[in-house]
Each structure stands twice: as C-alpha cells, then as structure tokens.
C-alpha cells in the first residue's frame, strides 16, 4: 500500500491569540506540552492541530490573550454518523491502529447517581446539627467477625476475646484510586500521598511498584499486585497497610495494560524493576488465576508473605454477573473488594473497550450488596466503590447503595489541573500529571496540590456530615446499604429493581 501523509482529520480546537493583548512573553510556548505554540519572529503562532484543550495555556497567560474555541468548521451534523465515529474511521484508515484514549468513557450513558434522590428528616426522627454534635465518618475496611466473644476481667468488665482481622482505618470514607507511577508522574503520586497522610486516608500505588520517595508514606498506602507483577517483592508487599490484587479496571475490563517503552526511564525502570526502554506489558489475566480457587491461592500467597497482618483487597471491574463474581471473591478470602464501574478512568484504554464494556457502578453496587446480604457474608469483606465519583453526593449515594467507602481518581487529577482532555496516553500532559517529561513533571508541586486534595476531601466530608445530619443519623455506618433512604426519579421498574430502591413519591 502506498502511504499518504494527507489526513482528513481537521483540528478539533482553535488556539486563538489576541495579538493586541499578547505581550510575547512566550509563557504559552513554555507551558504547552503539545507544542501548539511557537514564536514566529514577531508574534506567537499556534498550530491548531496540536491543541487538545487542556487549558494550561490560557490559565497561565498573564494577559488573558488566549481563547481555546471549538473549531467552528463542522463535520456535517448527523445523529447517526456522529463526529467521533467519523473521525475514528479516518484515524483508523490512516493508521490501521486500535484507537486508544485516556480517562473514562465520553459516552452519554445514563448516570444513575443523577436519578437518585436522598431522604431527610421532617418533624419526626429529628435532624442533627453536624457542626455542633458528634458526626462519625471514621470507616474501617476489612473483614469483620460474624460474632464477638468476650471474657470478663476481675471487675466483671467485658474484654474482647475475638481477634479482630486486620483493618484499614480511614478518617473519612474516601480513598485515592489506583494510579501507577508511569501512568501518572511521581509528583502527582506524592501530592496524593501528602493529602492521604494529612486526611488519615490511603492512596494506592497502582501496578507500577513503590518509588523510594513514597516508602515513608507506607501507613497511607495500599500496594497493588497486577498481572505484570511490576516491582512486586516481599518487602513491597509489607510496605503498605494493605495489598490489592488487581483483576480488572472499570475503563477496560478483561484486558491488560501496556506502558510503552518510551515511558520507561531510569526512575520508572527502578520502581517497576524492569530494564529501561522495554514495554511494560500487563497480561490480560493473572496467569496464576483461572478460577475462584486460584484467586484464593494468590490471596493466601500474599497473606503468607505478609504474615496475615495486611488485609487483601481484590479489585474488579463491574461486569454483567458482578454479584456472583464478588460473592466468589469474598468466599476466596478477600478482605476488601474494590468494584470499578464502567465510567472509571484510565491512563490508556482502547475506546472499543472503554465505551462498550462493563456496567455502571450504581447497579453493580446495589446487586453486590444485596447478594452478599442474602448469602450472609456481607461482613466478610468491605466494599470500595469507584467509577467516576464526581461529588460528595455521588459518594453518599454509593454508600447508601452498599459501599463502605468510595475511591476517587479522576476527581483527584482534576484537583491537579486536569481538564479531562483524555490524552493521558500520549505522555504530554501540560499539567505534569500523566507525563514523565521532567520539564512538565517539575511544574506539579506536590505540596500545593497535596493541600488542595486535602481541601477537596475535607469539603466533601463536611458535605457528607451535613447530609447525614439532615437524614438524622450520626454515623456513616448508619447509612451504609440503607437503600430505604434513597428514591429513584425518571427510572423504569427494571432500573428501580436493579438498584433496589423505590420511585420518588412511594
């Protein structure tokens, strides 16, 4: 086939410079990770084809001289042949490649959180003022005993006899979702580590190993074991508060990962314990796990290696038979199950998978909680819900649907400046988040964004307290799985049944 460099794909955005305002300080040239701007002798020139609307240039332009606008040159509108579909056909016909993208799905599937309403107290069962009365958000993740045995001391006081399985103590029911060093920068991980320590919550290494700089944050870290086993060794398993086996991810259920060789520099090579420049391939399955029994085998291999002192979490994507799958995972001995809904984020995923595989977290959560209760094993494991938790309201609804805690990933990156441009896979992130280019990583100050992450989670925690107060409960535990406090709006009978909630008004 003859190769042609001509492309049908036109620029998606235009970087428009107001040359009357521009003082030619060239800050935009320096800030753009995509190479959109250059200096043309007397003025800034923009190569629109490179702009991804990441927002870095206009945020840092001291004169407000830059506008990023959607390219007004339209692809003829058609409800069936929508622009992204047409563009992907061109893209794939020009390259022969699988289309990959960063971040969660951009599809407009129904967001169930937006169709669930919360209850509040009126007259009876009085509401509580959370600012002046105790309001407990502390959450323990891990296996809870099905019964407690007590001894009595010489004064007749009860003493707990049951040995509690290991727990992770969270001061508020949030964790940072797994994002590996490699998919994001070390500074982005450090910002989360600082925030997690200040908040009394945990972050998650993802599958890229643990960088030396994060070792001191062990009490606020969950270490992950994925199919590639990057950086996994005995000391690594023992360096955090828990170990997570990653089976699947909401953005790409059933497929592996692939950090391209050009991103494996010296530091990432050291952390992942692989040579510089080779592809870091995570196989689609763990090849020692082909069944629930095999999963049990790895869970206990890890428990043996950590002397039964760390809870073991298993992370799965929400897929069609998720309730049965999670029941199996709990029976396999997992202390925590992390369920990632189909709209969860990613550093890179084929869009055919990201946009078409999996189910929403709300439905998965309701079904899993119901199933585990029916089987009498809900106490055997805690549930972390993930898959684009966008606000404290989403978190509250997730907990009322049955989660013990929620994980936030994309929201944490948005704190660091992410504008959800979805180009994480390219490694050019102008905000220094999903890049390893030193000049870009350097601009992400872990102290500054650690504080902003702290602020966000604190604010969301206060909002949860406000809502709990309005509901007349003084502890997050009282809301967990309490679906009677939820009502659906604009939902079908089938949807209400799957969510296990009544329609508003009933």
């Amino acid at each position: 086939m003859t190769k042609s460099s001509f492309s049908n794909i036109q620029s998606e955005y235009l970087a428009v410079i107001d040359h009357n305002k521009c003082v030619r300080c060239k800050r935009c040239i320096q800030n753009c990770g995509w190479g959109t701007y250059s200096f043309g002798g007397d003025k800034i020139i923009a190569d629109h084809s490179k702009c991804v609307a990441c927002g870095r240039c206009y945020t840092y332009c001291p004169e407000g001289a830059i506008s990023i606008i959607k390219n007004p040159t339209v692809i003829r509108e058609n409800a069936n042949w929508q622009e992204p579909l047409v563009k992907n056909i061109w893209r794939q016909s020009e390259t022969g490649g699988i289309v990959i993208s960063g971040m969660g799905t951009t599809f407009k599937y129904k967001k169930y959180f937006d169709h669930i309403l919360l209850d509040a107290c009126q007259v009876t069962n009085p509401s509580i003022d959370p600012l002046r009365e105790p309001m407990e958000l502390r959450t323990f993740l891990g296996k809870k005993p099905s019964k407690l045995d007590f001894d009595f001391d010489e004064r007749g006081e009860p003493v707990l006899k049951t040995k509690m399985p290991p727990q992770i103590e969270l001061q508020t029911p949030f964790v940072f979702g797994a994002m590996s060093y490699g998919s994001i920068s070390l500074n982005a991980q450090k910002a989360m580590a600082l925030a997690a320590r200040a908040l009394g919550i945990v972050m998650n290494t993802g599958e890229g190993g643990l960088h030396d700089d994060l070792v001191p944050f062990g009490k606020n870290i969950i270490v992950q074991v994925a199919s590639g086993r990057f950086g996994v060794h005995r000391d690594y398993l023992n360096s955090g508060v828990a170990v997570e086996i990653k089976i699947g991810q909401g953005a790409k259920p059933g497929i592996g990962g692939h950090l391209p060789g050009e991103k494996i520099g010296i530091d990432i090579s050291r952390t992942r314990m692989i040579p510089v420049g080779t592809d870091a391939i995570s196989p689609a399955p763990h090849h020692d796990i082909y069944s629930i029994e095999d999963l049990r085998q790895l869970i206990y291999a890890i428990k043996e290696a950590t002397d039964y002192e760390k809870p073991v979490s298993v992370k799965v994507a929400a897929v069609h038979n998720i309730a049965a799958i999670v029941s199996g995972i709990v029976r396999a001995g997992a202390d925590i199950v992390y369920i990632d809904g189909y709209s969860g984020g990613t550093g890179a995923a084929p869009i055919v998978i990201r946009d078409h595989v999996g189910i929403p977290i709300e439905l998965a959560l309701a079904q899993v909680d119901e199933r585990l209760r029916e089987e009498g094993i809900r106490n055997e494991a805690s549930i972390i819900a993930a898959g684009s938790i966008r606000s404290s309201a989403d978190a509250i609804k997730a907990i009322a649907l049955g989660a013990d805690a929620v994980a936030i990933g994309t929201a944490a990156l948005i704190v660091m400046g992410c504008h959800v441009c979805g180009k994480c896979n390219t490694g050019n992130c102008s905000w220094g988040i999903t890049t390893q280019r030193p000049e870009l990583v350097r601009r992400l100050d872990p102290e500054v964004y650690g504080e902003r992450l702290y602020n966000l989670i604190s604010a969301w925690s206060h909002e949860i307290q406000e809502v709990l107060g309005a509901m007349g409960v003084n502890s997050i535990e009282s809301l967990r799985g309490s679906r009677e406090r939820l009502r659906g709006i604009e939902l079908t009978d089938a949807e209400l049944k799957a969510l296990g909630i009544k329609h508003a008004g009933l």
Partner: protein, 247 residues
C-alpha cells in the same frame, strides 16, 4: 538443623514454624512427609537458609521468596517460584504449570518435565538475572511475554527426537534469552522472537550454569552437550509499538 514432620499439617502451621525458625536463626530445615502443602518458602528471606523437602509440595512453592534455597526430592506442582526475587529452587522430578511467573531473580532447576507457560513474564532487572533450567520437556506458551532473564530448555527426555514440539513458543517475548538444546519448527514461532547460533559468550554462560545444574542432579555434562544449543531472543523490546493510534 530443624526437622519438621509435615504429615497432616495445614500449610499455615507449617509455614509459621518455618518463619519462626528463620527468625530464631535456624539455617537448615528438613521437612518430611510433605503432601501438597501450599506456599512452602513463601516470602521468606535469608541467603543462607536451606529447606529440604521430602514429599510433594503444593502450589506456589517459593512464591515471593527472597534468598533461600529449596530442595525438593520429588515432584513439585504449579506456580513454583511465583514472583520470586532471589534464591534457588531445585526440583528432583517434574513440575506443574506456570513456573517462575514474573520471576525477577534467583534460579529454578527442574530435573524432569514442566507444564504450560513456563517462565511467563519472567523479567530481569539490573544485576538480577533469573534463570530457569528444565531438564525435560515443557508444554505450550513457553516463555510467554518473557521480558528478561534466561531459560534453558534441555529436552533430555525423549532424547531420540532432535526437534522440540511446543505450540506458541515465546509468544509476546520482548526481553531475555532462551537457550534450547534442540531445533524447533520455525513455523510455530511467534513473530516476536528470532533464533541464532550461540556465540562464545553464550557458551561460557551456559557452561557455568549447566555445570551447576548437572551437579545438582548427577546428570553428566557430556550427556547434556550431546546436542548443539540455539539461542532465541526477541526481535524487539517493543513488539506492540505500532498497534495503537491515539484518539
């Protein structure tokens, strides 16, 4: 030296005794009547610790192990040396599937045959060079996703045949080196690997490891060197670089 009778013992108890023994300074363990107990040597440390096993240990023998030596006087089962970091595992019989998964260092010597997916995603890192030597035959998906280290396949069983019969050999290989003591039908090769004759450096490397292997099992070096060795390396460290396009 600590002798443990593992008859009827649950793995948790057995491994607890080993861990405590190591903590108390025991360097040599002899475990008798092992009958399928999982995780022997899981996550233990200590370069001078030696554990000899009579009987058949269960899955995940030496998983996450970091230094010790395990000697199995019989067969072993699946997942030997899973994600192992350092140490040595010597198996005086056959081993099961998925041997040395994600192994980053240390050595595994198997006298007999091994199952499917031997050396899957094995990786080397800096001076850590994991080495697996198999005396007999192996199943399909040998060295799948291999990313580093060395695997030597001798095929001493059925030694009349001069050719290996393995499907999906080195599929997805993107690092490391495989030495085989027989030819292989190239049409069954993955596109990701290439075969070469061995050079002097390879011969020197092989001599060192094969001497150690032959001493471990009382197999004569002469027998091993009856047939020529070939070397298989990946054609690229980036086999899938052109598979994707960015949205």
């Amino acid at each position: 030296m600590m002798t443990i009778d593992a008859a009827g013992m649950h793995y948790k108890e057995l491994n607890g005794i080993i861990r405590e023994g190591i903590l108390n300074g025991v360097k040599k363990f002899f475990i008798e009547n092992v009958n399928g107990q999982y995780y022997i040597g899981d996550g233990i440390k200590g370069d001078d610790v030696v554990i000899e096993i009579n009987g058949t240990p269960g899955n995940d023998l030496g998983a996450f192990m970091d230094g010790p030596t395990l000697i199995v006087n019989n067969n072993a089962q699946d997942n030997v040396g899973n994600t192992m970091n350092a140490g040595k595992i010597i198996i005086n019989g056959d081993a099961g599937d998925v041997i040395g998964y994600g192994m980053r260092g240390g050595r595994i010597y198997i006298r007999g045959n091994a199952g499917y997916r031997v050396g899957i995603h094995m990786k080397g890192y800096n001076e850590q060079l994991p080495v697996i030597i198999i005396g007999g035959k192996v199943g399909s998906f040998f060295a799948e996703y291999m990313a580093g280290g060395v695997i030597v396949l001798l095929g001493l069983e059925d030694d009349d045949s001069d050719e290996l019969d393995i499907d999906y050999f080195a599929s997805g290989m993107h690092g490391g080196t495989i030495f085989i003591r027989k030819k292989i039908d190239f049409s069954k090769f993955s596109n990701e690997a290439e075969v070469y004759e061995i050079d002097d450096k390879d011969a020197k490397f092989l001599k060192e490891y094969l001497t150690d292997f032959s001493n471990s099992f009382n197999i004569s070096l002469e027998e091993i060197y009856k047939k020529p060795f070939y070397k298989i390396v990946p054609s690229s460290a980036r086999p899938y670089a052109h598979l994707y396009t960015s949205a």
